[in-house]
């Protein structure tokens, strides 16, 4: 039944009178009692309504006159007013945000400044915040949606934009289950406007935290904005995943702001299975890999995270297990230096085989992905069908080679370890003997497979570093460098001059090795550069702990030279290289 307008208006007038007389003075002075305030709307847009009002500004729903489509307009009241430089910087950054084009990312269509208030225009999505959408849905559906979100985040990362404020409210999901990530880069815009870069801290002059505390990474909580990179978003994705799986958060944050920031920076994460026993070991490993305190120990990209989530859903082994296995072994070795050789051998065997299995598995996966990509391309490019099919077949052949290589490595390790019987004598065999035997067999059996030899030598060297045998480790790593050069030359002719210098193994002293490295192709950065750089960093690290520490810097300098050409740079490895004295 419809009321007369007059009676509606009279009742409204009575209500308004009561509200005006009953509200406290603070409310009357602090806020517009209508809650709307008649916000300005940029030219070219018709205001439809207000979606949200927060401490940083207002989000409006509007219609773009020229296209008749609905858009969301963010008026950034939280930014500094009346500063031309700030407005220019805002506009420049906002244009960068407009470069992100992805089906799951809401990008900025337009930006400007209206009455000293910067604004952004973006597509409007009528969806629920992530947490509201996921509530009550099956666990696998939640994992799948997070994988899609991680892929969207990665798409922005490869265009050089870090989100910095991922939280459920910034991921909207439509009724048909399509997620959209919004507000990319806004946290930085806001931070830049709120404070001087030279005093980059986590809190503003009013003590408020810029960003959303519960999803902030340890480096953000510590105010180290210089350390914030794509892996900070990986951390936030980990909190979203944790929240999606458990309905709660990794930490209890119930102290004051300072205590909460300390908890994020140094506190222990409650294992997700404590809250939800339905989470299995692999899924917990994925969550915890995201939530590592050190960025270098997290997934190194959102794509790695989404890859592991997809593998988990497909019932395939996840990559995150590799890190935890090695980490557990290092911890075990560090805590128990007096372990019997038998125990060490057993752990070593498990470790090395699993590392190799995973290395091989990942390479096979990469090859398979390449095959799938090639097949997809072939479907779309009918005119190049034959060529694409050839590429696909070639990639499949690579995968088969990797499988064969993996079998060779596994066989080698099993044979090496079973030849040495710790029960055969009445003394415990030193681990060194085991490793020496393995190294000798690498020389004898993998002379024609430098790729396998290099991987095995690095594994042996890593074990020696844990036994504090740095000199021995460095020797194996030097040999691995030579293997890397030979391996590269086998597939890329421009590496041949470098490999030729170390062709005679008897002459590979430091001076010869340095001469060879000077001939490494100095343009670009490919997989061979990446492998060589990683080996050089490991060599520099090992050598820095020996009597010949002065040489270490030269290896790390060579690695840094290569790594700085990478796009995007491997920040974790670069930091390790730069840390070498």
């Amino acid at each position: 039944m419809t009321s007369e307008p007059h009676s509606l208006i009279e009742r409204a007038r009575d209500d308004a009178r009561r509200v005006a007389t009953q509200s406290g003075p603070l409310l009357r002075t602090a806020t517009d009692l209508t809650g709307t305030g008649g916000p300005p709307c940029p030219p070219g847009y018709d205001l439809i309504g207000e979606i949200h009002r927060g401490s940083q500004g207002v989000v409006l729903l509007a219609r773009q006159v020229s296209t008749d489509r609905q858009v969301a307009i963010k008026l950034m009241h939280g930014c500094a007013r009346g500063q031309r430089s700030a407005a220019r910087r805002f506009a420049r950054e906002a244009r960068a945000l407009g470069r992100i084009e992805h089906p799951h990312v809401i990008s900025v269509h337009e930006s400007g400044v209206l009455d000293d208030v910067p604004y952004l225009v973006m597509a409007y999505v009528d969806g629920l915040p992530l947490d509201e959408y996921l509530a009550g849905r099956p666990l696998r559906a939640r994992v799948a949606l997070l994988a899609t979100v991680a892929e969207a985040v990665h798409a922005a990362h490869v265009r050089g934009v870090i989100h910095r404020d991922l939280k459920p409210g910034n991921v909207r999901v439509t009724d048909d289950g399509h997620p959209y990530v919004l507000d990319f880069g806004l946290a930085r815009l806001i931070r830049d406007e709120w404070q001087d870069d030279s005093h980059a801290t986590t809190t503003t002059h009013t003590g408020a935290f810029v960003g959303s505390l519960r999803w902030a990474s340890p480096e953000q909580a510590a105010g180290r904005h210089d350390l914030v990179d794509t892996r900070s978003d990986v951390y936030a994705l980990g909190v979203l995943l944790y929240q999606a799986l458990t309905g709660t958060f990794p930490y209890r944050l119930d102290g004051n702001l300072r205590a909460s920031l300390d908890t994020i920076a140094t506190g222990s994460v409650t294992p997700p299975r404590t809250h939800n026993p339905g989470i299995d070991d692999e899924l917990e490993t994925i969550v915890l890999a995201c939530l590592q305190k050190e960025p270098g120990r997290r997934y190194q990209s959102a794509a790695e995270l989404s890859g592991d989530l997809r593998r988990y859903l497909a019932g395939e082994p996840i990559a995150a297990k590799r890190d935890s296995g090695w980490y557990m072994f290092r911890k075990l070795m560090a805590r128990n230096r007096g372990l019997t050789t038998g125990t060490v051998l057993a752990v070593l065997a498990i470790l090395v085989v699993s590392v190799m299995l995973l290395v091989g598995y990942r390479r096979a996966q990469e090859a398979r992905a390449a095959a799938e990509e090639a097949r997809a391309l072939a479907e779309h490019a009918r005119t190049a069908e034959i060529a694409q099919r050839a590429r696909a077949e070639e990639a499949v052949a690579v995968a088969q080679q990797e499988r064969a290589r993996l079998q060779a490595v596994t066989g080698f390790l099993q044979e090496t370890l079973t030849r040495i019987d710790p029960q055969a004598g009445d003394r415990a065999l030193p681990v060194r003997e085991v490793l020496d035997a393995a190294a000798n067999r690498v020389d004898a059996e993998f002379g024609t497979r430098p790729d396998i030899a290099a991987d095995l030598r690095e594994t042996i060297a890593r074990t020696l570093v844990n036994l504090e045998e740095y000199g021995q480790a460095a020797a194996h790593l030097r040999a691995a460098v030579v293997d890397r050069l030979r391996q590269a030359a086998a597939t890329a002719p421009d590496w041949a001059p470098a490999a030729a210098v170390v062709a005679d193994p008897g002459e590979a002293g430091d001076a010869v090795l340095r001469s060879a490295l000077k001939l490494v192709p100095a343009e670009g950065f490919d997989i061979e550069h990446a492998r060589l750089a990683a080996t050089l960093v490991a060599l520099a690290e090992a050598e820095s702990r020996t009597d010949a520490a002065a040489e270490a810097g030269s290896w790390s300098a060579l690695a840094i030279e290569m790594l700085e050409r990478a796009e995007p740079p491997d920040e974790a490895l670069l930091r390790r290289a730069r840390a070498v004295p």
């Binding site: 208006i9 709307t36 309504g49 810029v210």
Partner: protein
């Protein structure tokens, strides 16, 4: 400018009544068909219009005309806002996520603080539980009695929206609009620099 509108902005409530009466038809037309069928037993266009007119009486002094259809756009903005609030909260009710069972008043007060400051507002602030409870109580005292009553009964004491609506003689949708407005004011008070929170700086 329409003389009634000018008078309304100068504080003449009767003039505003006349202005709103002239806008009632277009507003009703704009809202027609916007309430989902499943919610029509709990929310009517009249509920939205009444709340919108209340907001107009409270905010007319701040209204700045931006063109010949400025007033209509302003009222539509407020009406859209109210409609969205009502639909969002009614849907949350239907999903069972409207209110949580209350074990302890401090718990529910602390939870309300968390919801209001942690879910939608950035920057967020985190306080000790006792500080949060005290801050919410201080802010509640600033709200008009009608809004404070709705918020306390639903969000702190766990009464159902239907119960509260029946006792106030309003529809559930209308109660939700009051509740949404009360939550927004509370968020403003809790987030305001000169407001009720201690400063961390």
């Amino acid at each position: 400018m329409n003389p009634d509108l000018q008078a309304a902005q100068d504080g003449d409530a009767d003039a505003l009544g006349r202005v709103l009466e002239s806008q009632a038809g277009p507003l009703r037309a704009a809202l027609t068909g916007r309430i989902p069928a499943a919610l029509q037993s709990m929310l009517s266009i009249d509920d939205v219009l009444q709340q919108t007119f209340t907001d107009a009486f409270l905010g007319i002094e701040r209204f700045r005309p931006t063109g010949p259809r400025g007033l209509e756009n302003w009222l539509r903005t407020i009406a859209e806002h109210n409609l969205r609030d009502a639909i969002r909260l009614l849907r949350a009710d239907r999903r069972g996520g409207g209110t949580a069972p209350v074990r302890d008043l401090d718990d529910s007060t602390s939870a309300l603080f968390e919801r209001i400051t942690g879910s939608g507002t950035t920057p967020s602030r985190h306080l000790a539980r006792s500080e949060a409870v005290a801050a919410v109580r201080t802010a509640l005292a600033e709200l008009p009695a009608m809004h404070r009553d709705v918020l306390e009964r639903i969000d702190l004491r766990g009464e159902s929206v239907a119960e509260v609506a029946a006792s106030l003689g309003r529809s559930p949708g209308s109660v939700h609009m009051l509740r949404a407005r009360a939550q927004r004011w509370l968020a403003d008070l809790l987030g305001h620099p000169s407001g009720v929170l201690p400063d961390f700086s």
